[in-house]
């Protein structure tokens, strides 16, 4: 195949080293995000799930802002703002009002394992995340070497909470946490990810949440109707 000529301005990928002040802040945010994932995994109340997710998104937007300052990148600023507005505020508020309040969801009883078991599995997955990202993938001295395993752990914990919870709203929150983990990895590993792609990802995320909210309320309402019919049939 013909080798396409490099036409645009080119430079090798910019990376954050692990010694700067910015790096310390991003690492701290990453740890905080992991803790919040564990908190969500160990909780049983729907409004806690949403609260932990919202808090995690705010921490994520802070981390994005730190990277934006470090790289003087307007695109990353826009991304941090989008994260704050959409994931930190809009999605939690919408979930609370459209799902939790309207469907009167309080306590999640549809767990397939006990909380302590899922926390232990979560700890194992975190260890696995560190083992999976070996030295040959990410060299020492980069911020990414510290943060990417944490972000992978957040991804796995989100997926785990989707597996152990059977309620649709809990699965939705689990998926959103997974998405946060991916974004944390993306801003440290690839701070200069093309903006148009990131914007598209946000668009998809919003559309996905909208569609899922419609499905969840549909399913819950059908189930409620089914139970009501059964009750009527069984009477007398």
């Amino acid at each position: 195949m013909r080798v396409p000529a490099v036409t645009l301005a080119s430079a090798s990928l910019q990376q954050l080293s692990s010694s700067s002040a910015a790096s310390t802040l991003v690492s701290l945010s990453a740890v905080l995000m992991l803790v919040l994932s564990f908190a969500c995994l160990g909780s049983k109340l729907f409004n806690r799930y949403v609260a932990y997710y919202g808090a995690q998104s705010i921490v994520l937007s802070f981390a994005a802002a730190v990277v934006a300052v470090r790289f003087h990148s307007a695109e990353l600023w826009a991304l941090a703002a989008l994260t704050l507005v959409l994931k930190g505020i809009a999605i939690p508020v919408a979930t609370r009002q459209l799902l939790l309040e309207r469907l009167d969801l309080r306590r999640d009883v549809a767990l397939s394992t006990g909380l302590s078991t899922s926390l232990i599995v979560g700890a194992l997955l975190t260890t696995f995340a560190y083992l999976a990202i070996g030295d040959d993938t990410l060299p020492h001295g980069l911020l990414a070497a510290a943060v990417v395993p944490l972000s992978l752990a957040v991804v796995l914990l989100g997926a785990l909470s989707m597996v152990v919870r059977r309620h649709a709203v809990a699965q939705l929150i689990g998926w959103l946490i997974t998405e946060n983990g991916v974004f944390l990895g993306a801003i440290t590993l690839a701070a200069t990810f093309p903006f148009i792609v990131e914007a598209g990802i946000f668009l998809d995320l919003v559309a996905a949440v909208l569609i899922m909210v419609v499905f969840v309320s549909g399913i819950t309402r059908r189930l409620a109707q089914a139970t009501a019919t059964e009750l009527r049939e069984l009477r007398g």
Partner: protein, 492 residues
């Protein structure tokens, strides 16, 4: 060429006319079919142009057309055309029967249009991040189609579909990030770091460890969409609950879109890491998927689920062919993509006739289709024979080529295993369809389409699809084989 991309991608959006307040189902159907015809014509023209002039890119590499892209575009555009014809007839019949409200019909046409356009657009995404965005967008549009009937079961299937696929596609996003990172030593702008053509050209300079991770995650992530085992669990539910023409789009269109992404990643991985690693990954997933599909085909009680498991088996077959590799293996895989897409579109569209006539999706509830619905019953039997790989249909030829690729690559044991699984799959599919075709015609005799116009419209895609399969089984037209050869060359 850029202008032609828009002529392929945008016309399917004509179905959005259904949103207009006075639009009837008939008008929306006609406009949808018109749009799909224009789009298919443009895709064929583009294929001819690409074979003549080679690849081209536009908008800084965000859009890229080579023979591979245009081959997949022709395949998907043909499926969209067949499914549009089927939709126009099916939705009208469901409206007449009172099974769908006017609002649901509007929703159907709206999301069908977005779904079709999204799939076609993803074929031309030269930037792998953009590819991700478009594939996720088409997933969301199709999820709405699965949940359209808004019964408890279809909503549950739609939920399972959207949540499992979204998680899978999120994994594909991680793959995209690692791929981006693997090029950190290259002197490129950040847009170019995700541009497939640059990455493919500079494959040897990519960092191997993170590229290996990226490839594996891409196979798992996009494999969730393709229906590779063990990530296939959403597929039978979604295919069984969607309206039949939408099932045809899912099985013959969407699965191929996911496969297209895997083919792109595989090309980079082969160029950078050598053949061994990608081969191992693809053969493992491929054989596992074939086995799962075949086993569940033997025990499926619902005919749409049966066809869905057959799709899973076929996706396994395509992965195995990609895993065998070499020009012959890739050629066979692409040929299989085309023949399976046409065959499965016909099969799912025919299942629409059967479900309209018999009002059930259980294999046990359907007897005597050959007597009751002679045309649909005949097509059902022929199409299932075709998909199962009987000569003289196209799938037979492509599966034979895959076996040849296996022997040529020195993997005769694996080629034997492949043959065994294909034979079991044949028994599972054709056995069940035979039991539906024969037997006494129930009273009163089932009627699929009461009106003549509906009957003609619904028959058109079946006749077109089946005759294409027959032609492809006898000989491959020179234009097509030229396109396939160019596509193989584009990624090796």
């Amino acid at each position: 060429m850029t202008a032609l991309i828009w002529v392929v991608v945008l016309p399917p959006l004509a179905g959005l006319v259904a949103l207009a307040p006075r639009c009837t189902t008939r008008i929306a159907g006609a406009v949808l079919v018109g749009g799909a015809t224009v789009s298919f014509g443009a895709a064929v023209a583009m294929a001819a142009l690409v074979v003549g002039r080679g690849h081209s890119q536009s908008l800084g590499g965000f859009f890229y057309v080579d023979a591979l892209a245009s081959f997949f575009a022709v395949t998907v555009a043909f499926v969209v055309l067949l499914a549009s014809l089927g939709s126009a007839a099916y939705v009208q019949a469901e409206r007449d029967a009172g099974a769908l409200s006017s609002f649901q019909a509007r929703l159907y046409f709206t999301f069908f249009s977005v779904f079709g356009a999204g799939m076609l657009a993803s074929m031309f995404a030269g930037n792998l991040g953009l590819l991700w965005v478009l594939i996720e967008a088409s997933t969301l549009a199709s999820a709405a189609l699965v949940g359209l009937e808004a019964k408890a079961r279809s909503l549950e299937a739609a939920w399972k579909y959207v949540i499992i696929c979204s998680l899978g596609v999120t994994i594909a996003l991680v793959a995209t990030v690692f791929l981006f990172y693997s090029g950190s030593a290259l002197h490129l702008s950040s847009d170019q770091r995700l541009t497939w053509a640059f990455l493919f050209a500079h494959a040897r300079e990519l960092q191997p460890a993170s590229l290996r991770l990226a490839f594996l995650l891409a196979v798992i992530g996009y494999g969730t969409k393709v229906g590779l085992a063990p990530m296939h669990t959403w597929l039978p539910d979604a295919h069984a609950e969607a309206p039949s023409p939408a099932s045809a789009m899912l099985s013959a269109g969407l699965l191929n879109t996911g496969m297209y992404a895997i083919v792109r990643y595989e090309a980079i991985a082969r160029a950078a890491l050598g053949d061994r690693y990608p081969e191992t990954v693809l053969l493992t997933f491929g054989f596992l998927t074939m086995a799962v599909g075949v086993v569940f085909m033997m025990r499926s009680g619902n005919y749409k689920r049966l066809f869905a498991y057959s799709s899973i088996e076929q996706m396994g077959i395509i992965s195995v062919a990609l895993g065998f590799g070499g020009p012959l293996g890739i050629f066979a895989a692409l040929f299989q993509v085309l023949t399976h897409a046409i065959g499965k579109a016909v099969l799912f569209l025919t299942s629409g006739h059967v479900s309209l006539g018999y009002k059930t999706r259980e294999i046990g509830g359907v007897r005597g289709t050959l007597g009751a619905l002679p045309f649909a019953g005949g097509v059902l039997l022929l199409a299932s024979l075709a998909v199962a790989g009987t000569p003289p249909f196209g799938v037979f030829l492509s599966e034979l080529t895959i076996v040849r690729a296996g022997f040529a690559g020195g993997a005769s044991g694996l080629a034997g295993l492949f043959l065994l699984l294909v034979v079991i799959g044949f028994l599972g599919l054709v056995g069940s369809v035979l039991s539906m075709s024969t037997g006494d015609v129930p009273e009163p005799a089932p009627v699929a389409y009461p009106t003549t116009s509906g009957r003609v419209l619904a028959a058109a895609p079946l006749v077109a699809g089946l005759s294409c399969l027959l032609v492809l089984g006898v000989f491959v037209p020179s234009g097509l084989s030229e396109l396939l050869l160019h596509a193989v060359r584009a990624i090796s």
